[in-house]
Amino acid sequence: MIKSIIKVIPALAIFLAIVSIPFWMNLGAEEMEKPELPSGMSECIESREYMRINHMKMLDEWRDESVRKSEHFYTNSKGQKFEKSLVKTCMNCHSSQEKFCERCHSSVGVKNYCWDCHFTPEQMEAK
């Protein structure tokens, strides 16, 4: 009985080592660079917490509502009006795609295909 348990140990060790690769590969890796927020602003169009959790849902709803229902304006919880536009509204303050969107998304391995078609502020400036 004990003999057979001992036999399993090396295989078990190899298995655990492989499974935990993501953890020890990242040991000592540099900490993720924090996204650069626009200076001199305290809040996005909704509260910071709300935007952190919901920005992707908001963008998804915005694109559906503006393209499919021709509803082009968003009224936030304070009653302020904003055009439902990634390029014209969001990127107007968050003026860098590389320093804002990309920093989080690339570190969590999410590819934003927004920029396959829409122009980033960097590209617009280069024009």
Binding site: N54, S70, H72, T75, V87
Partner: protein
């Protein structure tokens, strides 16, 4: 660890009860609602009372003038791959025989197969929107046959369904093939169908489509077909107009004055 049959059954029953709680049980853990946007919605710009249409008076169109085409293709970042196989076009000149088929006869000689301006005819009964499996193309309330480029999966059913051949497919990445990028309008990506959308982005803001605005000869007239007092209705009342393939029941919103 001891885990007997009794405990197992209790745990199973408990999780089953939790599962039956449905969304309420989930929100007990997950907390906040999965819907964004607390207060949204404004009056939609696509007015169901309107029906946008266009007349094209080919007699006024000057040979060799391509200003409307250039204006459209530059404002919408339409790529030019330089070969007919990969061609993408929103508005272009097409031989009359290709549009009106049997109505072209040899006795008209030079005039018989004159190139006509051609674009998506914005049908009232569009076959393309009926076959789209993902609703990426759909009829707007104001008659514009719209493309939601975000949603297109590139199956090209719409291209097969369109009897007018007014849709193009991006076989290649369009960005490198655009001579002059207009960053105020997005490009498309590879594997997406595109066509003329009657300049929905301009019409929503109360402007005329780019081609209509640019034409120096006033060949194109754009307006509301439901408004009896509109310029376009006056033209349709007084002039003789024809439309291609009306026998199909597609009811195009573009009319030709020949």
């Amino acid at each position: 660890m001891k885990f007997n049959r009794g405990q197992f059954l209790k745990l199973t029953a408990l999780s089953a009860a939790f599962g039956l709680g449905g969304k309420k049980a989930i929100s007990l853990i997950a907390g906040n609602e999965l819907r964004a946007a607390p207060g949204t919605s404004s009056a939609p710009a696509a007015d169901p009372k309107k029906r946008w249409g266009m007349t094209i008076e080919m007699g006024k169109c000057k040979e060799g003038c391509n200003e409307c085409i250039t204006a459209c293709h530059t404002t919408h970042n339409v790529p030019d791959h330089g070969n007919p196989k990969d061609e993408v076009k929103w508005i272009w000149k097409e031989k009359k025989s290709k549009i009106f088929g049997e109505q072209v006869h040899p006795y008209a000689e030079k005039n018989g197969d004159k190139p006509f301006l051609y674009m998506c005819l914005q049908c009232d009964e569009p076959p393309c929107t009926r076959v789209c499996p993902v609703n990426a193309t759909f009829p707007r309330e104001d008659g514009i046959v719209m493309m939601d480029f975000h949603r297109c999966i590139g199956c090209r059913f719409c291209m097969a369904a369109c009897p007018y051949g007014c849709r193009s497919f991006n076989f290649r990445d369009p960005r490198p093939a655009i001579k002059e990028l207009d960053t105020s309008y997005p490009t498309r990506s590879m594997g997406v169908v595109e066509k003329c959308n009657f300049c929905n982005e301009r019409v929503d803001k109360g402007n005329l489509p780019a081609c209509v605005e640019t034409c120096p000869e006033k060949v194109l007239t754009f307006g509301d077909l439901n408004d009896e007092n509109s310029e376009i209705r006056e033209i349709l009342r007084t002039r003789e107009t024809i439309q291609p393939k009306t026998e199909l029941g597609t009811k195009p919103s573009v009319f030709y004055i020949v």
